[in-house]
């Protein structure tokens, strides 16, 4: 049994409970503690996804920066895709390219793949070990190195610090 994994999951679930109920009444808090504890014990003991997270100040600061970078990317590329949609000529140049990531931890890779999908214009289709297959609405290069730089250059450095 992985104590750290269960503890992290417990904290996460309890925070979600607080956000959902929105009160600090004693009965609600106690119920939340019991539910979060039970769920963390049932689902956390056989997995290790949350076990490698280490909540250091540096990691939290980088998470915040990451959130800002991600939001900015989402806005920028959303406008880009929206302009493509309203353009009468429909200027798309789609294709599926392969990129490689340096990230090792499963959590970091999951966040990376989801971030790539969230920024419009790129869509993660499949992941095999360290290779990600990306549907790109405007293919600029087929070379794995250059495409990696183009698509995940900004995310990877930050995620490397956060999840190692």
């Amino acid at each position: 049994m992985n104590i750290r994994n269960v503890a992290n999951l417990f904290v996460l679930l309890f925070l979600i409970w607080l956000l959902l109920t929105g009160t600090f009444e004693l009965t609600s808090l106690l119920l939340g503690l019991v539910l979060a504890g039970a769920l963390a014990l049932i689902f956390g003991k056989n997995s290790s996804v949350f076990g490698k997270l280490r909540f250091t100040p540096k990691m939290l600061a980088y998470s915040l920066i990451y959130l800002f970078v991600l939001s900015w990317e989402i806005v920028k590329s959303n406008i880009d895709v929206a302009l493509r949609v309203i353009n009468p000529k429909l200027p798309i140049n789609p294709g599926i390219v392969k990129i490689k990531t340096r990230l090792k931890s499963p959590m970091g890779r999951m966040i990376l793949a989801n971030s790539i999908t969230l920024t419009p214009g790129t869509l993660t289709i499949d992941m095999k070990d360290d290779e990600l297959y990306i549907h790109w609405i405007d293919v600029k290069t087929l070379d794995a190195e250059k495409a990696s730089q183009e698509i995940l250059g900004k995310f990877e450095k930050l995620l490397e610090v956060i999840y190692g």
Binding site: G22, I74, N78, V85, N93, P94, L118, V139
Partner: protein, 113 residues
């Protein structure tokens, strides 16, 4: 407080335009993968902006609205990824404009081995 409410309503309006463009994209795009790109992503930003705009109008609701925003941010990429992988697995036809499909090549290679 009128100004704050008008700002919130304007943010919601911008978000709703993105949702509309998402619907337009899903109709106009020529093949499934481009539809996923245009449809689900534009509507993600649209949803986030609309909900935050409503949160600016009703500050007491902001936490619950942020929970919904967080939830949309987590689930949306997962569902579009699941659908796109299933579609690729089925061999959905891609548009003639497609430049390359490296995933099919790698699958063929593993099949030959």
């Amino acid at each position: 407080m009128e100004i704050r409410e008008i700002i919130g309503a304007s943010v919601t309006l911008v978000g709703s335009i993105f949702i509309f463009l998402g619907g337009l994209g899903i109709v106009r795009m020529p093949d499934l993968f481009n539809r996923i790109q245009a449809g689900t992503k534009a509507s993600t930003l649209g949803t986030i902006l609309s909900l935050i705009g409503l949160g600016i109008i009703n500050p007491a609701w902001i936490w619950k609205l942020l929970v919904i925003v967080f939830f949309v941010l987590i689930t949306n990429p997962v569902s579009s990824n699941v659908i796109s992988r299933a579609a690729h697995f089925r061999g959905t036809k891609m548009t003639d404009k497609t430049v390359a499909d490296l995933l099919v090549e790698s699958e063929n290679k593993t099949r030959e081995e």
